[in-house]
Structure formats: C-alpha cells, structure tokens
C-alpha cells in the first residue's frame, strides 16, 4: 500500500486549457499566494486542447482549500481534483548516476534488479540507472544507493490518476 511521503503533501491534478502561458499562471499563483510547490509535472492529454498538471503541494489541509479555490479562479483552469494517495495510482521516473567502480558494480546491479530498474549507461567508474515506480519506492532505491556515492539524480515529479472501480457497480 502507498502512503503519502509527507503528511503535508497533497496531490492536485489540474486540467487546463493547453495555451501558452498557462504553466506560468499556475506557477506565479503559487508564488504570489505563498504556497510551496513540492513537485510539478505537465503534459498534454489525449485531447490536444488540454493539458494535465500534476502538482504536489506542501500545505496544511486548511490552506489547501484556498489553493484549490484560487487555482479555480484562473480562467484557463478547467478542473481540479485532489488525489488521495490511497485512491489513486501514481508514478514517477528517476534517472540516477552512481559511482560504480568495478568491484561494486555487481552489488548495484543486484539492488537495481530487486527494484526492477534499468541500466541506461555504463561509464568507467559510474553507472546511470532509471526506475519508474511509486515515488516512495524511488526514495528507497535512492537511499540504498547513497552509500556508494550518488553523482546525479533527476526526478520528474509524480503523475497520478484516480484508481478505477474494481467491482461491477
């Protein structure tokens, strides 16, 4: 079962008109009203005129309502859903370069295998791996690789969709 990483983190899935400047509007709203964005991912949806922005917000529950209401005031915002981590499926992609001298390489590959990650690039003393999974699982791999010496990490921020009904209604 997935747990939110942090009790103050909330996932908002925001459907917007796919127009230039929309992301800037959303980002500056957060800045102006003093809300923190923890992570943000944006891409067009199947309908080309729309984009979905997945925002992880760092707020208490009460101000979250304000965030949502203020977002709604943006003319280009069409729909906002707060995704309860218990009721949604989430994914995040991580690329990570870690020190991997010849002697350590197999240990790292073994760990990566357990997490079902992939090797993207192998250098003389380093290796770049990728993994997509629930964000908390990426944290786990990152923590386990820490002792080897992480050189670079790049994460996309989480994307999410609501969980589907599993039983016939």
């Amino acid at each position: 079962m997935t747990k939110p990483t942090h009790p103050r983190h909330h996932v908002l899935s925001v459907l917007v008109q796919n127009r230039s400047g929309v992301l800037a509007r959303v980002a500056s709203l957060f800045a102006r009203r003093g809300y923190n964005i923890y992570s943000l991912a944006v891409a067009p949806t199947d309908d080309e005129s729309l984009s979905r922005i997945t925002i992880v917000v760092d707020v208490e529950t009460a101000p979250l309502e304000q965030v949502v209401k203020q977002l709604h005031k943006l003319i280009n915002v069409i729909k906002i859903s707060e995704l309860d981590p218990l009721d949604s499926v989430e994914r995040e992609l991580m690329l990570l370069t870690v020190k991997a001298a010849a002697g350590k390489r197999s240990e790292i590959l073994e760990l990566l295998g357990l997490f079902e990650g992939n090797v993207l690039d192998v250098g003389h003393d380093e290796i770049t791996v990728s993994m997509d999974d629930e964000p908390e699982r990426l944290d786990d791999l990152e923590n386990l690789l820490m002792p080897y010496g992480i050189i670079d990490v790049q994460r996309t921020g989480r994307v999410a969709l609501p969980r589907l009904e599993h039983t016939r209604p």
Binding site: Q17, S20, A24, S28, Q66, Q70, H72, I75, I78
Partner: protein, 583 residues
C-alpha cells in the same frame, strides 16, 4: 468582410458598446489609433497613463459599465500597472489594451518591449497576448465578458504591432462577431456561480430568525451586484442594523435609522462595536479585510457568520463562516427574503431585538463622530470643510477621494444617500487616485456634480490630469485639504513613533496650488478661514465650464478618530479625546 486587426479592434470595442476610451498613443499602438479618427468612440487624451487607468476606474464605478484604456507598449504599459492593481483589489470591471512590439520581435529586448503579460499577471483577473489578427474579435469579447461577470475585475489585452498594422499581411482577417455561445464555449473553465445554493439560503434565513444581536456587514459586492434596494428591504424587514464598509459607502443611506455607517480602523465607534458584540454577522459582498477586522483572533468573538460572496475563494479565506453562500449578492438577498417570508407565513416570528437596537443607539448617542470646531481666527478644521462641501452639494453629487486622512474624513463626514456616489481606492490605497477617478466619473455621469477631495500629497501625484479635464471640457471640482503633510503617515508617527517625524513635511506654499491650478486652466481659490469656506464652495459649485480647484489650508495637527491601532483587536477603539471617559 476583409479588414485589418487595427480596424477590427476598434470595431470590436464599438460592438461592445464602448462610448469612451482613455489613453495616450505611441509607437507600438499607432495602427490602433488611426481608425479612432473615424470611430464614434470618444477618446480622452490623458497626460500620464496612470491617469487613463484611474479614469477608466472612475468611469466604471460611476456607471457600472466597464472602463476602457488604450496605451502603448513598454513604459506606457508599466505606467498603467498601478490602476490595474487598484482595479483588481477593488473588483472594478476594466479592459486595458496595450501595444506590444511585433510578434517576431518579442523576446529580443526590442525598443519599448516589456513583458506586459508577465508583469500584469498578478494584478489582472485575466490577460492575453493576442497572437493572430483573426483572434481579435473573440479575445475582445472574452475580455469584456470576463471583466464584467462573476467577481468583476481588470482584463488586459496585449496587442503586437504586426497584427494591427494594415501594411503588414499579418493584420489581415475576415471580420466576424462571435456569439455568446461561442464565447462561453471558448472559456470552458470560466463558469461563475450566480445563484446561491437553496439549502444554504434556507439555513441563512433560519439563522436570522434566531439571532438576537444581528448586524449586516455590507461590502462593495452589494454595489457590484446592484443590490442596494434588496439590501434595504432585508434590513427593514428584519430591523437589522447595517454597517457599510469603505467600499460600500452609499449602498445603504447614511440617514436611514438602521444605518450605522463605516466600520474598521477609522470606523465610528458604533459600527465597530456592534460588529464586535453581535451574535450574527451577515456579511454580504464583503471580504473581512484586515482594516475591518483588526486583530483577527479578537474579531466578533460571539458571532455566527453568514457569508455571501460571488467569489468562492473569499469564503473561509479569513473567517470560517457557519453558512457560506456562493453567488450574486442580489439574488442571494432576494432568496433570503423569500425564505424569511415563508417562515413567517408558517407562524415563526422574528425575534424581538429591541434591546439590541437600544444598546446600539446608546452607543450612537454616547460616541457620535465629533471634532473640535476652531475658535474664531483659528485654523481651519478639515472635518468642517467636508461638512460644508456636503451641505452645499446636490444630494446625488459624486465624490472621489485620494488616500490618507482626507479620505477617511470624507468617508466619515460625507453623508451618502445614494449608491454609486462614492469613488475611492480601498484595497490598494493608491495616492493620486482622486483627480483622474473624478474625471472618469464625470465623463460617465456628465449630469452629476463631481467633487474630488484630495490631499496635498496625493494631488501632487496626478494633478496633471486637470490639463486633460480642461482640454476635454470635463468640469470636475477638486478640494485640496492642504495640511502641509503626508498627514496619515504623520499621524502614525505622532501616535506610534513618539512624535519622531520622518520625511512627512511637504510645505503649505510649495507648490503654489492656486497658480498651478490656474496654469492648468482651472478656476482656483485659496481658503484659509472658516468664514470663507461656504462662499468659496458656492462659487465653485456655480462654475460649470471648467474645472475648479479649492485649496483649503487646514490644521496640520488634526488626527483621524476613532482609530483602532493596528495590531489590536476592535475592542480597543480610540475615540476622539473629548469623548474619553474621565480617568
């Protein structure tokens, strides 16, 4: 019909019913100015773009129709940022059109290029950079729709030169005029809630039926919703006293027995204290501004709150209401009245609130607004000037003000009897608002007398627009309360900074306001003693062919009372020293 973007833009304004625009041309907007020559739209040439913005605001506030300003790119666009922010804070419908460098030059630091859409994003309800000439009619329609519906506000359209210049092929388009349905379909995310939720309205009525110490807290939303009559009906039906905020002065007549006047930091004792002690606060189109609530954790501690507002984000933003209602204030009030009637028909009686009413009138008797009249030969009191201005002006005279002590005295001492007769900068508190806003109001309501009450500091920020007024034959009247100081700041330094006066002295004689006003084509008079006040005002009121400026030399030491010092709760109203309890 083949046309070009410049002509289409002006035609679109005509189609929207625009009769007057305020503006000043320049390089990037030149092609838009050319078709203005043939257009029936009246263009008022301002002397500074800030003036154009505030005029559009004054026009909008006096008429209820959106104000329109057209300016060029870069420095002109930045000059109009203050009025945009002002209109955003006070929810004033306004459409501003700015020129922009050619689309292909955007991002190159071209001459007079500014990121106008970026700069104004936080101070507009919406803004758009128009990319293609063919988008002009739709985006203009959207702009007016957004500015005037839901919670009104300013909308800016940034227009690159290439799409309006007839010599550029980019400007070619086939004229069309989108239907209401097309406009709505183009804005799938914009659907303001207008009708209040019936269950919430029922709850509100129920709560009113149970209240023993109710107060109606009427805000600027009453005026935006054109709900003054309905407000009066609700107040009279339930015998509920009404406070009118700085933005709502005139929404309920000051001479009505249920009117308590203005609450807040410089509100009168009764308005502040009745909100503080009420058991039900009926907030209609008001937003619990910090200047109203004082220290929040001590505000109206026993009150249950009904909060009706068209902007859902206002509900619970400051104070969590027991009954939140999203919607148009007028429709909500009508709904509440209907529910109350139903309850009455079923035999429920309105509670007897005579005790509350008599407590309230006790405060009114004990703590009326007051000031000490000067001895013969003494310095002129600003409050006296205002009383005289009010008394000698027609009942429906419109008054605009700047920001500072003179603004608070105007709001306190002008007895408002009609909606849309008070024009001021509430949320942003913009010095320099009065003169251009009064000019805009007079353009919108040429049938009304329009006074601007200004401070000496404020006047110096936008006085040049009196040149506009003289040139365009807009006979506004300006009363400068010349106290030789940035008076409001001086008051805080006197009271809270141990009389350490830092950079607030302005001099009474420099500039010479009379000569300055005369140089701008106005009739000007200086008034120094109480005896001269009445005759000078009568003289000013008789002039109708040009602007008039009266300079009143007032007592610098006069302070605005009552006052709730910032940071304290509204239990700590400082009344006029003459009303303090003997220690």
């Amino acid at each position: 019909m083949k046309t070009n973007g410049g002509a289409a833009l002006i035609k679109a304004l005509e189609m929207e019913g625009v009769e007057t625009v305020f503006g000043l041309p320049g390089g990037a907007i030149l092609p838009v100015y050319d078709p203005i020559i043939e257009s029936p739209i009246r263009h008022i040439l301002v002397r500074h773009e800030q003036g154009a913005g505030h005029m559009a605001q004054g026009y909008a506030q006096s008429t209820g129709r959106p104000g329109v300003a057209i300016v060029t790119s870069g420095p002109a666009a930045t000059n109009i940022v203050t009025p945009l922010c002002d209109a955003y804070m006070d929810s004033i419908p306004m459409v501003v059109i700015t020129g922009q460098v050619a689309y292909s030059a955007i991002g190159t630091d071209a001459f007079q290029e500014a990121d106008t859409v970026g700069i104004t994003r936080g101070v507009t309800k919406h803004n758009e950079l128009i990319a293609r000439a063919e988008d002009i009619p739709l985006l203009v329609r959207q702009a007016f729709h957004i500015a005037t519906t839901g919670r009104p506000g300013p909308v800016l359209l940034d227009v690159p030169k290439n799409i309006v210049d007839p010599n550029n092929p980019d400007s070619a388009l086939d004229w069309y005029w989108p239907t209401d349905e097309e406009v709505a379909a183009s804005l799938p995310g914009y659907k303001p809630t207008i009708k209040g939720h019936p269950r919430k309205i029922k709850q509100a009525a129920q709560m009113i039926m149970e209240a023993e110490r109710p107060v109606i807290y009427a805000g600027g939303g009453i005026l935006k919703a054109r709900a003054a009559e309905e407000l009066r009906e609700l107040a009279e039906m339930t015998n509920t006293p009404v406070v009118t905020t700085l933005m709502a002065r005139g929404a309920f007549p000051d001479d009505h027995p249920l009117c308590l006047g203005m609450p807040g930091m410089h509100g009168n004792y009764t308005a502040v204290t009745s909100m503080q002690q009420c058991d039900l606060l009926i907030a209609l189109g008001s937003r619990f501004d910090d200047r109203i609530t004082g220290r929040l954790d001590g505000f109206a501690p026993d009150a249950k709150v009904i909060h009706a507002d068209i902007d859902p984000a206002e509900l619970g933003k400051v104070r969590v209401p027991e009954v939140p209602i999203v919607g148009d204030a007028r429709l909500i009030i009508v709904g509440i009245i209907k529910e109350l009637r139903k309850l009455q028909d079923r035999g429920t009686e309105l509670p007897d609130i005579t005790d509350w009413r008599s407590t309230v009138s006790g405060w009114q008797e004990r703590y009326p607004l007051t000031y000490e009249q000067s001895e013969p030969g003494g310095l002129l009191k600003p409050q006296y000037v205002l009383e005289q201005l009010r008394e000698r002006a027609p009942e429906d005279c419109i008054v605009a003000s700047g920001v500072g002590q003179h603004q608070m005295w105007t709001s306190q001492y002008w007895k408002f009897r009609h909606p849309y007769t008070w024009i001021n900068s509430g949320g942003l508190g913009t010095m320099g608002f009065a003169v251009p806003a009064a000019i805009g109001a007079k353009v919108g309501r040429p049938d009304r007398m329009v006074w601007a009450v200004d401070g000496d500091g404020c006047f110096q920020m936008t006085a040049q627009e009196l040149v506009t007024a003289t040139t365009e034959r807009i006979p506004v009247k300006v009363a400068i309360l010349n106290n030789a100081y940035l008076g409001m700041v001086r008051q805080w330094q006197e009271m809270f900074y141990e009389e350490r006066y830092s950079e607030v002295y302005l001099s009474p004689d420099l500039p010479d306001y009379v000569k300055w006003a005369e140089a701008m084509g106005c009739l000007a008079l200086r008034v120094e003693s109480p005896e001269e006040v009445g005759p000078a005002i009568d003289k000013a009121n008789a002039v109708n062919d040009r602007p008039v400026v009266l300079e009143f030399r007032t007592d610098s030491s006069e302070k605005v009372f009552p006052m709730v010092p910032s940071g304290l709760s509204n239990d700590h109203v400082m009344v006029d020293p003459s009303q303090e309890d003997p220690k």
